[in-house]
């Protein structure tokens, strides 16, 4: 059993966060999310009928006690638009948690670091619990932490690319330096990559495309669940590395100690 993860005022027993896009049906989405054991599920405001929230099918299928919703601002291109979308999301979904995503570039969906930092600062002043999607940039993550975000969500690779942890060297620095949880978001395409993220000490991963577009999303959800648990267990047990170091016969650097 993994240690529980605390973010802001909530505690999670699952370290696998999921999304709701790209599934073949809402029913498959629901089954896959349930199979994954995920307790935090991100929902794009753009996909929610926020004027008639009670009729929203997507939300109806996410209505389980253990599932917390994490509205996201996908689609906005500036900090200003993000703040507006966040306010709508808070009202519609009745949560002040927010995955802040600002990607002005429609092709690679690269997060805009400058607008993201600006929006994070403004949203925290408005009492949001902000989890920003960002580049695997250690300084940016510290700056975001400095304005009060509750976690950082650096990307492992371009979103939807399934390339895995192409930003590994930077992610390791971010994990080492961070005082808030680090959730690796975007790019994780296989359970083994999710396990790797957990082995290096990530606090959680967010996986969407790899589940939604799998031949069997439910089986894949179980595979990711187990991979995340296994990777985390390896990290917590701290028993990963022993590589043999041969003993050194002579002692040229420390022999002076015998003479003084």
């Amino acid at each position: 059993m993994n240690q529980p993860l605390k973010i802001a005022d909530k505690t999670f027993s699952s370290r696998l966060f999921t999304g709701t896009g790209k599934f073949s049906s809402i029913k498959v989405m629901e089954e896959a999310i349930l199979a994954s054991g995920s307790e935090l599920v991100t929902v794009a405001l753009k996909r929610v009928a926020h004027q008639q929230i009670e009729n929203d099918q997507l939300l109806a299928h996410l209505n389980h006690d253990h599932i917390n919703l994490l509205p996201n601002t996908s689609g906005v291109r500036t900090a200003k638009e993000a703040v507006y979308a966040a306010e709508l999301a808070r009202e519609a979904l009745e949560t002040n948690w927010l995955k802040l995503e600002i990607h002005p570039d429609p092709k690679y969906l690269m997060p805009d670091p400058i607008e993201t930092l600006k929006a994070a600062e403004a949203l925290i002043k408005l009492d949001f619990i902000v989890l920003p999607y960002c580049h695997a940039d250690p300084v940016l993550c510290k700056r975001l932490e400095g304005v009060g975000v509750s976690a950082v969500m650096p990307l492992g690779a371009p979103i939807g690319s399934n390339q895995g942890l192409t930003t590994l060297a930077m992610l390791e620095i971010i994990i080492q330096q961070s005082t808030v949880p680090v959730i690796i978001d975007a790019g994780i395409g296989k359970p083994s990559q999710a396990a790797q993220a957990m082995e290096i000490g990530a606090d959680a991963v967010l996986v969407n495309t790899a589940l939604a577009t799998a031949n069997d999303p439910i089986a894949m959800a179980i595979a990711f669940k187990q991979a995340v648990e296994a990777g985390r267990l390896a990290y917590e047990s701290a028993g990963l590395t022993p590589i043999s170091n041969n003993a050194v016969a002579s002692s040229p650097l420390t022999s002076f100690l015998n003479t003084i």
Partner: protein
């Protein structure tokens, strides 16, 4: 959050017991890793690691050269005053020691500076005792503008101050502040600091927090080795460093290794850290943290210092005087601690070069913190 809150989760006895319970396997694992944890540091300073000393030295040398190259930075202390309102059982300047008290005037400071400049120094460490009347912020405000003109880098080792004072000192040109906790053993700290502002353990413990908040570029930590169990004190220093690095990510950090030495009214060290163990400790720090600056003073012997240059140290002092006026004004007055290595900076620079390293005299510029 301040460090005290974090610190209070830990208990001295439990940490100490766990260090002495470390096994050969723990040490082997710590040595084999890429990123070492606090637990690994405890393994590396444990008695179980002593048989691995040569291996640790090689690793430390490699890591140090990778990060700092083959360079050693040189600095000199400049004692401005031996006035002190604290009683510290181990210090020559303690309030209860009947010694002549002296605080340098502006003119005397300039005389001292002239000698240091003649020696080639660009990095100076200003030292005082804790005496609000004689050497408080007013004194620093008066002296720093004089001193600043002559050096590329100014470090301070004075009483703990408030955050706003550190902000002021920063604008006056101070780059680095050293505040050693002496010991992280709360009860023994009280025994060794029975009187004066220094008796406030928490205020001292939170000083690096205030330094970090004030944006001080470099923060120096350390424990007085021998005051209590040096291993446990070093472990707590590592815990402190780890916390600070995350919290104040824009600051740099340095560690010093003062060993308790004899002085007037002397205190017997509770534990003795041997030369071999000090090498172990220095190497353990480097293996634990490849970016940390490790500093070595003239308390140590010439033969020890000559050899330690290659093992992980990044800055050393030379030709030091630890009495106010020691360089020019009053060379005969009482020193804070006894100097073991009395060689001149020129001699030390030659030793550094002979070891295949470059002595670095200037490694900062006031222009970099002018605004």
């Amino acid at each position: 959050m301040l460090f005290t809150e974090y610190f209070n989760y830990y208990q001295w006895d439990i940490e100490q017991a766990s260090i002495y319970a470390k096994t050969t396997e723990d040490v082997v694992r710590a040595l084999a890793k890429n990123n070492r944890t606090y637990e690994d540091f405890k393994s590396l300073i444990s008695p179980a690691a002593l048989p691995f000393l040569e291996q640790m030295a090689r690793l430390s040398q490699r890591e140090t050269q990778k990060r700092f190259g083959k360079t050693i930075q040189l600095y000199a202390p400049l004692y401005l005053s031996n006035e002190c309102q604290n009683i510290c059982t181990y210090c020559g300047f303690s309030l209860d020691n009947k010694i002549p008290r002296k605080t340098l005037t502006a003119l005397e400071v300039l005389q001292e500076i002239a000698v240091l400049k003649e020696m080639g120094y660009q990095h100076v460490l200003l030292v005082t005792g804790e005496a609000q009347q004689q050497v408080g912020m007013d004194y620093f405000k008066q002296m720093l503008p004089l001193i600043k003109k002559h050096f590329a880098h100014i470090a301070l080792e004075v009483q703990p101050l408030d955050e706003e004072d550190y902000l002021t000192l920063h604008t006056l040109g101070v780059n680095t502040v050293l505040v050693y906790q002496e010991t992280y053993h709360r009860e023994d700290y009280r025994l060794h600091h029975p009187k004066g502002k220094k008796s406030n353990f928490n205020y001292r413990l939170e000083t690096p927090d205030r330094l970090g908040r004030a944006g001080i570029h470099k923060i120096g930590l350390g424990a007085l080795l021998g005051l209590d169990d040096w291993r446990t004190d070093s472990a707590f220093t590592a815990l402190h460093l780890q916390y600070l690095e995350k919290q104040y990510w824009q600051s740099r950090f340095s560690i010093s290794f003062p060993r308790l030495r004899p002085h007037i009214g002397g205190l017997e060290p509770k534990t003795i850290i041997t030369d071999r163990e000090l090498v172990q400790l220095i190497c353990a720090w480097r293996i634990f943290n490849s970016d940390i600056e490790l500093s070595m003073s003239t308390r140590e012997s010439a033969s020890f210092r000559d050899n330690i240059i290659k093992l992980g140290i990044t800055s050393i002092s030379a030709g030091s005087k630890t009495n106010p006026g020691g360089y020019a004004v009053e060379p005969q007055s009482l020193e804070q601690f006894e100097i073991d290595d009395g060689r001149s900076p020129v001699e030390i620079a030659a030793v550094i070069q002979k070891a295949g390293y470059d002595p670095v005299w200037k490694d900062w510029d006031p222009a970099l913190q002018a605004i």
